[in-house]
Symmetry: C2
Subunit: 334 residues, 2 copies
DNA sequence: ACCTTAAATGTAAGCGCTTTCATATGCAAT
DNA sequence: ATTGCATATGAAAGCGCTTACATTTAAGGT
């Protein structure tokens, strides 16, 4: 593989000049520039990005930590980040944390040791304090779907409470008053805030939050089926079920159907996230659209602006979810 | 951030010695080793992986090119690759090709210019010749779900024909004889081979392949709905529909339901891939399990063995799909 | 023609490591 | 003590770039 030295030799100029034409930041006369370009062409020269990184102290890489590589939610987020960054010639190094504290920390250290210019994290298990300490280090840290007051400029977050509110509100608007709720693990901020929104909507409608109609699931399909089973086994009376994410809603739908429910007439179900398969379900799932792909793009833009001095990018750190009314929820039939 | 030089100074040894204790490949006396370890500990030293890469000509990174970041299929594949590689201390650089020739090529060049130690590709648009030429270069190339004879040692592939055969066979076994088929784009080898399997099963059952009951879809949900629409509009008679992937099967299911079909009694549907949501659909989708996650792991192992000299790994380059009989297909009711 | 300046180009010192080769050290055998 | 050899350590070159600084060249003003 050709090196800059061979290019300089062939073009009859110094290394520095070749470097200059590559980096376009210093003026080089058109004549020499052309000679260099020709030489590069002729040798099929590709700069060694590792050497560039070492010399310039910039790796042009951004680390990303997600909980899981599979799962529609993270996929959309990564797709958003990658496309934006890739267009700017940066690359992404992706790793996983599996929602476990030690694995998340290990993943973060891994990315830092790789000298990423910045890291974008979707962490769930690690503490706020850890993140605050982390961001004092030399690698800029950005947070997805997590809001930490001290790090607010580096957070791209969704108004989960609003989402929770919209979900329940949509059901209330349809005349339901007995509403069961399957939450996510409450140590996860988004799960907590979604529940807050649910409570807010209930309060607004003068309905008391009933702990009996509340179940904590695991954000997976099984959480939804187990939750619904729990409510049914307890012989509770409810006409609608709000789930803190789509996976659980899907599990609940499946369980309901297997137990003779006719959806949505016997039971209205609402999810959260609007993952890709929400629209594949039967009936199609009413859910709250979580613009995670857009948020990913925005995180990338923020990095581009902060870290790579890409001045004129407009940043929006807060995103609002919206209701996607589909067929899994319907007006209450009296 | 501490450098190796500072460690050597603190430990009272030379750079070379520090490097040796890091790389564990040369003997260092226990006494000095301990001094160095202590110094590292005290300084919180983390080696600069960029400098290591430049000096050792090994980046410890593996490039991955997939068509899309989202999409359950690629997610499982990436998850398989990442977990295996990560455990070996390697990292993955992921980029996308969007099934377009120029984007795929660009992505590949991007990964190579990043000096990945190897690249694992899931390419669809690029030609065999291009791949053969590519693999003559200095970066080892591995292919997922694509078989190129000249590169056979570097291919991890699925027996798509067998899969296509199994899908149609399962339907034949249920007594169906009028079977429609929605294929994928025929320039994609897997789509082509799945169709071959379908034909093989028909032939074996003495049924003539009927071009009228054949439609080429786009591997997306719309391909399935359009395909089924086509068959229905043409007023063709068929009791089963085999789709070359799950997305299309899902689209077809949706269309069928919207047009009054009672599934699976009025129409049996079979998909291919067993993506995560196949089990979320209603009725649950009968499909062909594509062990893409395992194949990803295997590709990673192959790289570990070939490129990183991890001798004792057992490699299996061929995978066989299996039938997942679920509820979307059922015996023909006479 | 000569001097002043700005623009273009070259020189060389790093960036933080790995690795070859040379040297020093220790120890057993003579 | 002396030699020989294996083992542990150090010195220094080099990986392919960037960039501060020095030098050359060209252009403009008198």
């Amino acid at each position: 593989m050709a090196t800059i030295y061979q290019v300089s030799e062939l073009a009859g100029v110094s290394l520095a000049t070749v470097s200059r034409v590559m980096n376009k930041n210093t003026r080089v006369s058109d004549k020499t520039k052309q000679k260099v370009l020709d030489a590069m062409e002729q040798l099929g020269y590709k700069p060694n990005s590792i050497a560039q990184s070492l010399a310039s102290n910039c790796t042009n890489s951004v680390g990303i930590l997600v909980s899981e590589l599979h799962g529609p939610f993270f996929a959309q987020m990564m797709a958003g980040i990658e496309s934006e960054l890739r267009a700017a010639g940066k690359h992404v190094i992706i790793t996983t944390g599996h929602s476990e504290e030690d694995k998340e920390q290990e993943g973060i250290e891994f990315l830092i040791s790789r000298r990423c210019d910045a890291i974008i994290l979707h962490v769930e298990a690690v503490s706020d304090d850890y993140l605050i300490k982390l961001s004092k280090g030399s690698t800029p840290v950005y947070l997805m779907s997590r809001y930490v007051e001290q790090l607010k400029d580096n957070c791209i977050s969704l108004d989960n409470q609003l989402g929770g509110y919209l979900a329940t509100k949509s059901i209330l608007n349809q005349g339901h008053t007995q509403i069961a709720y399957i939450a996510g693990p409450q140590f996860k901020a988004d799960a907590f805030n979604r529940l807050e929104g649910h409570k807010q909507a209930l309060t607004e409608a003068d309905i008391k939050f009933d702990p009996a109609l509340y179940y904590i699931g695991d954000f997976n399909e099984t959480g939804g089926s187990k939750g619904l089973k729990h409510f049914i086994d307890e012989k509770l009376s409810f006409t609608a079920l709000v789930c803190a994410n789509d996976e659980m809603a899907s599990g609940a739908m499946k369980y309901a159907r297997e137990h003779g429910y006719n959806l949505p007439n016997d039971l209205s179900i609402v999810g959260f996230d609007n993952v890709i398969f929400a629209n594949y379900l039967y009936p199609t799932l009413t859910t709250i659209d979580n613009p995670i792909g857009k948020m990913g793009e925005m995180a990338a833009k923020l990095v581009l602006k902060d870290v790579y001095q890409n001045k004129n990018l407009v940043i929006n750190r807060f995103f609002e979810p919206t209701l996607m009314q589909r067929d899994s929820s319907a007006p209450l039939i009296k």
